[in-house]
């Protein structure tokens, strides 16, 4: 009996992990094959992504974006005159598998560089192997600015650091709403903890005051305790800064609005998930967040519109979020450095990456220097209006907290 119940539990956990992305991975399948035309002489680039598991919400779009870029580059003649073989392994969001696939990339596939992952855990699990092998590692969506210091000199970020987006959020708040803020963050996840921390530093630096700071656990569904404290404030702050994960954003925002707190809410790129916005309805008005690009078919830049259309044709649906664009940019960024390096030598590519200046990505211009492997990019602030993304501002923050 007992064994049976527990085994059933195990089965359901396994199936849950498998099911999460199943729907979308099937649509992704045909594209990958055409991208990778394994010829005798190809340029092998690794793509490490958690295509299954919790992180696949972000990794799957990033992987699809990257594959699309590789396909486009191959259609235009490849890199250094050779086609790109973009090899993808699913890390399953298990750290032991992530470390193993990193070794597979290095030893079996013999890739000249690795692109991938959207979370710090996975980057740090794969990082030591890649660093030891001495090949460049570009993370598509990892945003902790501490990553390069933790991994080593072959590590690059394609996205801005959390310190930059927090500073942009703080600046946007000060410029548009005022100098008092309430700060709420999810203390169960590195990303939100860092984001909250950086926001506080940047906001205080700009002359703002945090009237109340609060946190919650990652699996919280009832925010009434936090809300009661906000309502007890003698005066409501100019805005609320809520650093939340995609799966919590909808609940927090809805409960704030239901409790009559209608002031502006600002957040980070965890908000960049259309599903909660549809579910929240009117509650999502007066919500602003920093992210990598305005993911919209009509409102974005011309380059983004082109990407949006190409992605929609390739996969039969619009890009899920800005991580698709980050994956897309990562491959182009890497290939740009590869072309400038003129060879597949790891040190030459690394040097070329470090010399990248104003690379015109669809998520913003990317610049690296030898001691700055986290790009100084502009941050897009999205303002939500009636369930639609509108451009709030493009900010290059002036006061950025140290990583």
């Amino acid at each position: 009996m007992k064994v049976r119940i527990i085994a059933l539990l195990a089965v359901s956990v396994l199936l849950l992990a498998a099911c999460a992305p199943a729907g979308s991975s099937q649509t992704a399948a045909p594209a990958a094959e055409s991208a990778a035309a394994p010829a005798a002489d190809t340029i092998k680039i690794g793509g490490g992504f958690a295509l299954t598991g919790d992180e696949s919400v972000l990794d799957l779009p990033a992987a699809n974006g990257a594959k699309l870029a590789a396909k486009e580059i191959n259609a235009a003649g490849g890199a250094l005159g050779k086609p790109i073989d973009f090899i993808v392994h699913d890390s399953q969001y298990k750290m032991d598998v992530t470390a193993q696939t990193a070794k597979q990339f290095v030893e079996e596939d013999k890739v000249i560089g690795l692109i991938g992952y959207t979370d710090t855990d996975s980057v740090l699990a794969a990082g030591p192997t890649i660093q030891k092998a001495g090949i460049p590692f570009l993370t598509a969506g990892g945003t902790s600015p501490k990553i390069p210091a933790q991994v080593g000199d072959m590590m690059f970020l394609a996205a801005f650091g959390d310190n930059v987006q927090a500073a942009a959020g703080a600046e946007y708040g000060v410029n548009n709403f005022g100098k008092s803020a309430y700060l709420l963050y999810d203390k169960g996840v590195e990303y939100t903890t860092l984001l909250g921390d950086y926001f506080k530093t940047a906001f205080v630096d700009l002359g703002g005051t945090i009237v109340l700071e609060d946190s919650y656990d990652d699996d919280t569904t009832d925010f009434s305790a936090q809300i009661a404290k906000v309502k007890a404030l003698p005066e409501q702050p100019s805005f609320y800064y809520v650093a939340a994960m995609p799966y919590n954003v909808g609940t927090v925002v809805k409960q704030f609005r239901d409790a009559g707190l209608t002031g502006p809410i600002i957040g980070g790129d965890g908000y960049d998930d259309p599903s909660w916005i549809a579910a929240a309805g009117e509650a999502a008005n007066n919500v602003f967040f920093s992210t990598h690009a305005l993911n919209d078919a009509t409102a974005g830049s011309d380059a983004y519109k082109k990407f949006f259309a190409a992605y929609s044709t390739e996969y039969g649906h619009a890009p899920e979020n800005a991580f698709a664009a980050l994956g897309y940019d990562s491959v182009y960024l890497f290939v740009d450095a590869l072309e400038r390096a003129g060879s597949t030598d790891a040190q030459a590519i690394k040097k070329a990456l470090e010399e990248t200046k104003g690379f015109p990505g669809i998520t913003g211009a990317i610049t690296f220097t030898p001691d700055q492997h986290v790009p100084q990019k502009g941050v897009t602030i999205i303002a939500l209006k009636d369930g639609k993304y509108t451009l709030g501002a493009e900010i290059v923050p002036t006061k950025i907290p140290a990583p």
């Binding site: 195990a10 992990a17 498998a18 598991g53 740090l124 169960g188 590195e190 903890t193």
Partner: protein
């Protein structure tokens, strides 16, 4: 030759073959295959030690991964080089901030050994305290209570951010773990569990598992054998945690949760609850199958298939062979020498 001597020789023979294989792998194998073997060894320790509790005592723990998490964090804090401590754990209390067990004697990282033993001992002590309370429960209640323990550990790790960096990834751990460490500990774990199974304690465990009232009526108490199993299995689970931390070199509390719990339980149930050799067989099959299926996924692009297939296998197993591949029996070492029976193997025929 007496049967006892023959068994000793057979066991030593197996260890010698293992040593040769390991040597060959560590010299000629790529780090990918070494890594796979290390993963296999870590799961072996986890499954065998979990089997000591879940299989032998008949009550189910869902909280062992909590012990693994604690073992990993304690050992990692102990071995973290002082420079990294200042960078990543700046608020550690003074005595811990200045302590780093990264000493080497020649090529041998003796500090890592101490850190592992200290971490595992502390965890075993904790398991003793927890066990004193939880082992009074019976049946499903133990599973639920240990699950609660796992959740408590996770929340504690999140909130003790002075020591664990909280939700932030704990990184830059020195990569001490290699094949020899893992298989050294694995052989020790298997040996200890094997000896325990056929000791007086092991028979007491089995007796109270089969019929608690009957066992008590002949003077076999429930508590001591259960508690012993709990503490020893917690010790080795913590060792696996320390090995994990020094292999992957980074971790966060999310790693040690349901996903890992059920991966270990799948291996345990497949091999057979209560069989040491079954645990080994189950672990080898699941680790091998997961790797093979992962490779097939890469070719077919049907990602997630490995989880589905393993889940379906588990379903069929529960329907058609609930006791697992080996049940409570052991693979017989004596067949190596052409003898069909071994005295230690008769009493475990289970309906």
């Amino acid at each position: 030759m007496s049967p006892g001597l023959r068994r000793v020789i057979a066991s030593l023979g197996i260890v010698a073959v293992l040593a040769v294989l390991l040597y060959w792998l560590s010299v000629y194998g790529s780090s990918f295959w070494q890594g796979l073997a290390i993963n296999l060894g870590m799961f072996l320790i986890l499954v065998v030690s979990l089997n000591l509790f879940n299989g032998f005592t008949g009550v189910f723990s869902l909280g062992h991964i909590g012990f693994m998490a604690l073992g990993a964090y304690v050992a990692a804090i102990l071995t973290l080089p002082i420079a990294s401590k200042q960078a990543y754990l700046p608020n550690l209390p003074g005595w811990l901030a200045g302590l780093s067990l990264d000493g080497m004697v020649g090529p041998f990282p003796v500090g890592f050994l101490f850190a592992t033993v200290i971490a595992a001992s502390l965890v075993a002590l904790l398991a003793f305290g927890v066990g004193l309370v939880l082992m009074r429960l019976s049946g499903h209640y133990v599973a639920v209570a240990t699950l609660g323990f796992l959740i408590i550990v996770r929340v504690t790790l999140f909130n003790a951010d002075t020591f664990t960096r909280g939700s932030r990834t704990f990184s830059n751990i020195t990569a001490y773990t290699d094949l020899w460490w893992v298989y050294g500990w694995a052989v020790l774990a298997i040996y200890v569990v094997w000896r325990l199974k056929f000791s007086a304690f092991g028979r007491a465990m089995a007796a109270q598992r089969e019929d608690r009232w009957a066992a008590q009526s002949v003077g076999i108490a429930t508590m001591p054998p259960r508690l012993l199993a709990f503490v020893v299995s917690a010790f080795f689970t913590a060792v696996a945690g320390a090995l994990y931390a020094h292999f992957i070199t980074s971790m966060s509390p999310n790693v040690f949760y349901f996903d890992l719990t059920f991966r270990v339980i799948t291996m345990l149930v497949l091999g057979g609850l209560g069989s040491v050799s079954g645990s080994i067989v189950g672990t080898v099959i699941i680790v091998g199958l997961a790797e093979a299926l992962r490779r097939i996924e890469d070719v077919t692009l049907f990602y997630g298939m490995s989880n589905i297939i393993i889940a379906v296998i588990l379903l069929f197993l529960i329907i058609f062979r609930r006791q697992g591949l080996l049940g409570q029996r052991e693979l017989n070492l004596a067949w190596l020498f052409g003898k069909s029976t071994s005295p230690s193997n008769k009493e475990n025929k289970q309906p």
